[in-house]
């Protein structure tokens, strides 16, 4: 039986029913990884030995009745910017190429407590800076729908691993669209929770005020189930929300009668691929057909989100990445003449081009004389964007739109022009600036057979509304497997 074609919840149920052992599930995942990795390159590290050991322990705890959650025994892949004790954690960067944390990210810890088996760490854009997963020091990840295309990013490895059925689900992180956009490009479902829902402890920071961990899986039920496990208050993260936990699966009802859904007309204007636009509007029709009240409206501020985002994210990143200096962990250059020479050589050799580009920009916008003009201006813009959303959510329960203007791009296409690449984040970044929850799920395929993503946004801490809308929509269609998943072993 093709265990990895199951959803995480289905597999968990089979393990619970003793139809499948944890070991069988883990071995199946490892077999698929072995067969697929050379094409897709979803993983930086596969912890074969550790996974088999975990499988044995978890099976015992399941058998004894100690573990009885829905995902006990189900393998999972973790984006390589989340610390895992004793397991290499690289952020897909040379500078952390040998870093073995002494602690585990809280979100991962929660999964482990629920009986998840950590299979390995997934590839990503270096330090999560990028939207193609091509900036990884360990080579690009490929899209399981078309190996000549990018899987999106920065959580491209996590999305590709789920889409190619290497694992049933994965964790990603989203700073400007890094869960939603690769989920969209790879034809799977991903959620960026409200800022504060999931502890950031152990998540290697890119833009601290924007970063949020979330699930990538095959369907909405999986995502809601994973959220119930990872959304918990954490004393170790000052920005963790005190009522972070919620019964998200209770929102999984096929009923959107009377739900007010707004479509920002600004999201359907110039720049969007007509096929994407049509698929998104068709999805809106489906929800309307189920009784939702759908209308277009003008959200505003859309053109200001990317400039504000890049200033804030780069500024925070320039500071967050100062700690990579060759002193305490990670890479240190082989030859140096003195302290500052060591710093400079280590960092210049250890970071890739895109990371350096953002560190330079971030250092500049915070430097003496420019702080107010750029950084403070961006924080004020952020306030205006939040207000635009608040106004919208006074009228609508859910905002519906595309995830990205296009489907997956060809490899190498966007790296040459950074600004063009940044523009691909136009529908996702404002959600991070405003701290809102957003879900991305498949809503169709373009003429090349590439998946198109639908994005649903909710008011802060209202994941339930978007889960309900997404679940209702999902009932109208069936899950389509990627060619790599179909290919089998």
């Amino acid at each position: 039986m093709d265990l990895m074609s199951l959803t995480a919840v289905e597999l968990g149920q089979k393990i619970k029913n003793k139809e499948v052992t944890v070991k069988e599930a883990v071995e199946e995942s490892l077999r698929r990884i072995e067969s697929i990795e050379k094409d897709v390159n979803s993983f930086v590290t596969v912890d074969k030995e550790g996974a088999l050991k975990q499988a044995e322990e978890i099976q015992k705890r399941i058998d004894s009745g100690e573990l009885n959650g829905p995902l006990a025994g189900v393998p999972v892949a973790i984006k390589d910017n989340m610390c895992t004790e004793g397991l290499l954690t690289t952020c897909s960067s040379k500078i952390l190429g040998n870093f073995v944390p002494t602690y585990t990210a809280t979100a991962v810890e929660k999964l482990k407590e629920a009986g998840a088996v950590i299979i390995g760490k997934t590839n990503m854009d270096e330090f999560a800076m990028g939207s193609t997963s091509e900036t990884s020091y360990f080579g690009a990840t490929k899209n399981p729908w078309d190996l000549s295309r990018v899987p999106g990013g920065s959580s491209g490895g996590s999305a590709a691993a789920v889409s190619s059925e290497e694992v049933p689900y994965a964790l990603g992180s989203d700073t400007g669209g890094s869960i939603r956009q690769p989920a969209s490009f790879c034809g799977v479902t991903g959620i960026k929770p409200t800022y504060g829902r999931v502890s950031r402890y152990g998540l290697i920071a890119y833009g601290s005020s924007l970063d949020q961990i979330g699930p990538i899986a095959k369907d909405v039920r999986d995502c809601a189930t994973i959220l119930e496990i990872i959304c918990q208050h954490d004393d170790k993260d000052s920005t963790s929300y005190k009522d972070a936990a919620s019964d998200f699966t209770a929102a999984l009802v096929d009923d959107v009668k009377g739900m007010k859904i707004g479509i920002p007309s600004d999201y359907l204007a110039e720049g969007i691929d007509p096929e994407v636009k049509d698929a998104v509007l068709a999805a809106a029709k489906v929800l309307e057909g189920k009784g939702a009240v759908v209308e277009e409206f003008s959200l505003g501020m859309v053109d200001y989100a990317i400039p504000a985002y890049y200033i804030i994210a780069s500024a925070e990143a320039s500071s967050n990445l100062e700690r990579f200096d060759g002193v305490k962990y990670g890479y240190r250059t082989a030859d140096y003449t003195d302290l500052h020479n060591m710093y400079k050589k280590t960092r210049s050799e250890g970071f890739g081009a895109e990371v350096k580009r953002r560190i330079m920009l971030g250092s500049f916008v915070l430097s003496s004389g420019y702080y107010d003009a750029y950084y403070v201006k961006a924080l004020k813009t952020k306030a205006l964007i939040k207000k635009a959303f608040d106004d919208a959510f006074a009228k609508y329960d859910v905002i519906l739109g595309p995830v990205a203007p296009t489907t997956a791009l060809k490899c190498g296409e966007s790296l040459s022009d950074p600004i063009k690449m940044y523009l691909g984040d136009i529908y996702t970044v404002s959600v991070n600036l405003a701290g809102l929850p957003g879900i991305s799920l498949p809503c169709g395929y373009d003429k090349n057979g590439l998946p198109i993503g639908l994005q649903l946004l909710g008011q802060t801490f209202d994941e339930k509304s978007i889960l309900r809308a997404a679940y209702a929509y999902e009932q109208s269609r069936s899950y389509k497997r990627s060619p790599i998943a179909e290919r089998g072993l």
């Binding site: 989340m82 952020c91 602690y103 950031r200 402890y201 601290s208 000052s238 925070e316 305490k328 915070l366």
Partner: protein
């Protein structure tokens, strides 16, 4: 020519707060310990680690702010100060620039009876750095992060001081306030209080400030005084020779008695401060402020007034006793145990001060318990021991905090109150010293002193001298 210049000094005083744990993590702040054994992912800047503010740091910072007449910032924040240095594991220090916790305070100082206010610009909270030690064998530096993340407050004064004496009076004032609050032990020599001196000079009568320098590495009041004198001279020399003072940070070498500029072309002095997104705003509401206010202990100035009213001891004694929280605590506790204030004060003013000098100890280092001093005073009152034995016992209390009752018992130091035995000894002494007896009888009153001394010697010091005197006179008058 010197006299035509005025020295203008402002101080940046760093004080390590006496908390059990670091400002942003649960590591111990205890001194000592092997290098890097009091560290965790947070205070070593491991990726993914996050800071969470220690509540006691905020409480202590606000307490110091209130005691120095500051306005407490109702919505405070932490900012990151970015600079690369290996003692700073994140390569940014979490500090407060835009919304420091306290602002606009003042304290009164008194230099030789002249009183003036020194204004406090702000007090902010921040984290301490690790320690760097040079390894001469490898010619590299070794980093120990045990001190990294120890909570500090930085008290920034206005440039209101004009002399080293004023600076020292100001530092002493801060030290006493903070010690009384229990917010820090404020030891300059151990680094729990550190002062950086911002100094400039200007012609007397001029309004405009000169260019200032910042002097670091001042570990004692003496070093501060010397550094101020030296920097004043240096700046006058520069200006007199037609040059300009450069705004820079200098490091004082107290052994060599000069300072040098801490410059590096790799330091841009552009700290790129911005609000730390990992920490949330601090809202100080009325309830929080009231709680801290209610908890504020009696400070030195209040104590002085109360001592005058309550204990009837000289102002001089009050000043000495209250100059150390530790001594004032011993004083009050001993009285609370029933000792007479005047007597306690005497023990502190005379014997304690003598022994402190002899053992080269600070009043803050006093380690004996009030209970043992109270017992000792009681034993003297009850004539269980005499005064000279008491001094001997007190020295033991001072150094080892022994239990005086036990000590006197074990060493047989009790005054002999057996009048028969005493009379017998005195009779023997009188018989053995006919010359002195004759002298006394012929009117040389002083001769009795010799006889008392001989008796005390024979009694191994364990007699009550008053009693010896009385019996002697009785016998001699027969």
């Amino acid at each position: 020519m010197e006299k035509t210049y005025e020295t203008v000094i402002g101080l940046e005083v760093h004080v390590e707060l006496a908390t059990k744990t670091k400002i942003f993590c649960g590591c111990s702040t205890e001194f000592g310990g092997e290098p890097n054994t009091h560290t965790c992912p947070v205070c070593t800047g491991m990726p993914g680690s996050l800071p969470v503010l220690n509540k006691a740091v905020l409480e202590k910072a606000v307490a110091v702010g209130l005691a120095t007449n500051c306005n407490i910032t109702r919505k405070g924040k932490f900012d990151r100060k970015n600079y690369f240095y290996p003692d700073n594991p994140q390569n940014y220090q979490i500090s407060q620039l835009y919304f420091p916790i306290c602002r606009d305070g003042k304290v009164e100082i008194d230099v030789d009876g002249e009183k003036k206010f020194v204004r406090i610009h702000e007090i902010h909270m921040e984290e301490d750095a690790g320690k760097l030690v040079h390894d001469s064998f490898t010619d590299t530096s070794l980093v120990d992060y045990n001190r990294s993340g120890v909570p500090l407050i930085e008290i920034v004064s206005e440039p209101d001081m004009r002399s080293a004496d004023e600076v020292i009076a100001y530092l002493d004032k801060l030290r006493l306030i903070i010690q009384y609050l229990g917010a820090s032990d404020c030891k300059l020599n151990e680094g729990s209080m550190r002062a950086d001196v911002n100094l400039s000079i200007r012609k007397k009568g001029e309004e405009k400030f000169g260019t200032r320098t910042e002097m670091k590495n001042l570990n004692s009041f003496k070093a501060i005084a010397r550094a101020i004198e030296n920097e004043r001279e240096r700046q006058i020399d520069i200006i007199e020779s037609g040059e300009k003072v450069i705004q820079e940070t200098r490091r004082w070498d107290d052994e060599k008695g000069y300072s040098y500029a801490m410059r590096s072309k790799e330091d841009a002095q552009d700290y790129r401060y911005f609000p730390d997104p990992d920490l949330v705003p601090i809202i100080v509401d009325d309830e929080f402020l009231d709680t801290i206010k209610r908890r504020q202990p009696e400070l030195r100035d209040e104590k002085r007034i109360r001592y005058r009213d309550e204990f009837n001891i000289p102002d001089y004694d009050i000043d000495i006793i209250t100059n150390s929280k530790k001594m004032a605590d011993i004083f009050e506790e001993t009285i609370a145990l029933g000792a007479e204030p005047k007597k306690v004060s005497n023990w502190l003013m005379v014997e304690t001060m003598r022994l402190m000098k002899e053992h080269d100890r600070d009043a803050d280092d006093l380690s004996f318990s009030a209970k043992n001093l109270a017992t000792l005073i009681d034993m003297v009152d009850k004539k269980v021991i005499n005064g000279s034995v008491a001094k001997e016992v007190f020295e033991k209390i001072f150094t080892e905090d022994i239990d005086p009752e036990k000590y006197v018992e074990e060493n047989g130091l009790k005054t002999v109150n057996d009048e028969g035995a005493l009379t017998k000894t005195i009779e023997e002494i009188v018989a053995a010293n006919p010359k002195s007896v004759e002298d006394y009888k012929s009117g040389k009153e002083k001769a009795i002193g010799f006889l008392v001394g001989q008796t005390m010697k024979a009694m191994k010091g364990k007699a009550d001298p008053g009693e010896v005197n009385r019996i002697l006179k009785e016998i001699l008058s027969k």
